[in-house]
């Protein structure tokens, strides 16, 4: 029973749309996070002194602290952006795909 359902869902063009859209979105966000995080690790490893500089003359806030604080907030905002889109747009699309497969079943 399941296998036939899966077959029909796979055949639905909306399934292709869901996979392509969500895949592109998820990977883009993941690559942003990975690139920023490992970029940061590289700076820690190869140019640590740059992180200790103040962001502005006389400021007590250093580049390193500012960059990390930004990453903490930015990464979390990215998760919020993903959850929002996945829980509305992608889930709606998923539901359509499952329902259409059920209808065909009858």
């Amino acid at each position: 029973m399941s296998s036939a359902m899966y077959e029909r869902m796979r055949g639905n063009p909306k399934f292709g749309e869901l996979v392509a859209k969500r895949g592109r979105f998820a990977w883009t966000l993941a690559i942003i996070v990975l690139a920023m995080f490992y970029g940061f690790v590289m700076v820690v490893a190869f140019n640590p002194l740059s992180l200790g500089q103040p962001v502005a003359e006389g400021s007590r806030l250093t580049v390193g602290v500012a960059v990390e604080l930004f990453m903490f907030i930015f990464f979390w905002v990215l998760t919020a952006v993903y959850v929002r889109r996945a829980n509305t747009e992608f889930d709606a699309l998923t539901q359509q795909i499952v329902q259409e497969a059920w209808k065909e079943n009858k």
Binding site: S2, M9, F15, L18, F37, G52, T79, V83, D91
Partner: protein, 554 residues
């Protein structure tokens, strides 16, 4: 009473605490701390009440392993945060910022950055494919017996090492904070853990984690606010003061010695990021929510709490540089710059005492104890389910076990794991167990994660590839750690390490992926082509959640 305690502390010559990500070194027993004990007893009474309530709701295997799949995203987010932020996060990272400044903040970023990636690439697939353990996913289309056996072995390896580190840390910490005997502390933790898990299963474990997360977040925030008020809530003023008194001076905010070479830095980053995504007790939490929607929300809340709390800890550590570091009361013999009373890990506790007095100190000590209990309960449940669900029900009984017998086995497994944890905790009392957390993360990153991610994303993975990938990752991660400085030199007392780096992930992970790829590609058996074909259906289920395990009704 408290005066007495502090002066007694001063008299006791305390051995230094070997600081590492998750472990506490040897400590001296302290005078009994009644504030902390009373508050901790309140916590235990509350969680016992919940366990009693949970026991009446824990009837099926689904109830036991995943709380019937009925936890909401917000509750699960709190529970994940509670599971993830161990006592070491509070004590170890505060101490690291206190001692090393910016390096501690870098560590926190590495602990945090895995979460968004888990959300984008794994969370919904985990929920859509899994039921009770993560091997439900790896064994979905592969050979049940062999793949589950492998997953159970690597899960139990991770759980055991993590458990030893937590138990030894717990014993040391409780001896220090509560003034209880080490062995009594170990028994208390082990027995409470057994009670929570055997009677209350995942329902009780989840609520212990939720309560503990709330205590940790509120306690930490309160200490941070009280501490920051001494600097008029000005980061500049805080930094001015901190830099003028810290031994690192202006270098306080520069990356320092912890990540001195690129290989270690990258390997640590990989290990923490992908190790998180391979820890069985964390993965298991994804099966407790109703559906993929709630699974995503759990990560959103969990990562929010974790990110927030890390920043609180950063501020706590920095303000402790002045508030604790300049107060002779907290140093042995009243000599600033000498050893801190109770060792390096006591920074957060001293800070609580300095800004909020005995009550806040007692509260934070109770939080630390509760934290350990919550983490070991989660670990024990994950270990027990690897034994009962994977090994007993699926491998030995080949799916023919009744629910009642499976639950019986899991409860029995919990008691055995608890007993093992107590025995190992006592045996390892004087050992430096710092490497064990690294080992747990290393094995999770090199053995669990590659097979898990390949089984979800790569059509070509076959049973043979998964077995070679998983076992080679497991063996190489363990070998690299054993041959590195942290075991070969520090534990086995050899002159020089054979493997030059302390972090295994950068080397063990590629080995696992490469082996999985080679032995899948070269697998031309009939079984392999059937497995590759079965990927299509699995793929549709992973994407749509159709056929996913549903929440049970209550």
């Amino acid at each position: 009473m408290m005066r007495q305690w502090i002066s007694l502390l001063g008299l006791l010559a305390l051995s230094g605490v070997a600081m590492a990500a998750d472990a506490v070194g040897a400590t001296e027993k302290q005078a009994t701390n009644w504030h902390a004990i009373i508050m901790f007893c309140l916590f235990v009474a509350m969680t016992m009440g919940i366990t009693y309530w949970a026991a009446s709701r824990t009837k099926s295997t689904a109830d036991f392993y995943t709380a019937g799949g009925g936890i909401t995203g917000f509750q699960n987010g709190l529970a994940i945060a509670g599971d993830y932020m161990s006592a070491a996060t509070l004590l170890g990272l505060t101490a690291m910022v206190f001692g090393q400044g910016y390096d501690g903040y870098i560590y926190m970023m590495a602990f945090f950055a895995g979460w968004p990636v888990i959300l984008f690439l794994m969370a919904e697939r985990l929920r859509n494919l899994g039921k009770f353990t993560f091997s439900d996913i790896t064994a979905y289309r592969l050979d049940q017996g062999k793949v589950r056996t492998m997953a159970a072995i690597s899960s139990l390896t991770v759980v055991c090492f993590y458990l030893i580190a937590q138990m030894v840390g717990a014993g040391q910490l409780i001896k220090l904070l509560f003034g209880l005997d080490y062995n009594i502390a170990i028994f208390a933790v082990g027995i409470l853990m057994m009670v929570y898990v055997t009677f209350g299963g995942m329902v009780a474990t989840t609520w212990v984690q939720i309560i503990k997360a709330c205590m940790l977040l509120s306690g930490g925030t309160l200490v941070m606010i009280l501490a920051m008020s001494q600097f008029d809530f000005s980061f500049s003023k805080l930094m001015d003061n901190a830099m003028s008194v810290h031994k690192l001076g202006d270098k306080l905010m520069y990356p320092g010695g912890l990540l001195k070479d690129p290989v270690t830095a990258i390997s640590l980053g990989l290990g923490l990021m992908f190790g998180t995504a391979g820890l069985p007790h964390i993965l298991m939490r994804f099966f407790t929510v109703t559906d993929a929607k709630e699974a995503r929300k759990s990560v959103l809340y969990a990562s929010g709490f974790v990110a927030y709390f890390f920043n609180v800890i950063f501020l706590m550590g920095l303000s402790a540089i002045i508030i604790v570091g300049q107060n002779p009361e907290f140093f042995e013999g009243g000599d600033i710059g000498k050893k801190l009373i109770g060792g390096g890990n006591m920074v957060a506790m001293h800070l609580a005492k300095a800004v909020g007095g005995d009550m806040l100190l007692g509260f934070l000590a109770a939080v630390a104890f509760a934290t350990i209990l919550a983490v070991v309960s989660g670990l024990a449940l994950a270990g027990a389910s690897a034994i009962s669900h994977d090994l007993y029900a699926r491998v030995i009984m080949k799916g023919q076990a009744s629910e009642a017998s499976e639950i019986r086995v899991s409860k029995f497994a919990t008691i055995v794991l608890g007993a093992i944890a107590i025995v190992l905790g006592i045996l390892f009392e004087t050992q430096n167990v710092a490497f064990m957390v690294g080992l747990a993360f290393g094995v999770a990153a090199a053995a669990n994660f590659p097979v898990l991610i390949l089984s979800m994303y790569w059509k070509g993975l076959t049973t043979r590839g998964a077995l070679f990938g998983g076992y080679s990752g497991l063996v190489s991660a363990v070998l690299f750690v054993v041959l590195s400085k942290s075991v070969w030199v520090d534990v086995l007392h050899n002159a020089a390490p054979i493997f030059p780096y302390t972090q295994p992930a950068l080397f063990a992970m590629p080995i696992a992926f490469l082996m999985a790829w080679i032995f899948s590609k070269s697998d031309s058996s009939v079984r392999a082509s059937a497995e590759i074909e079965a990927f299509e259906d699995q793929y549709v289920r992973a994407q749509t959640g159709y056929g996913a395990a549903a929440a049970s009704n209550h």
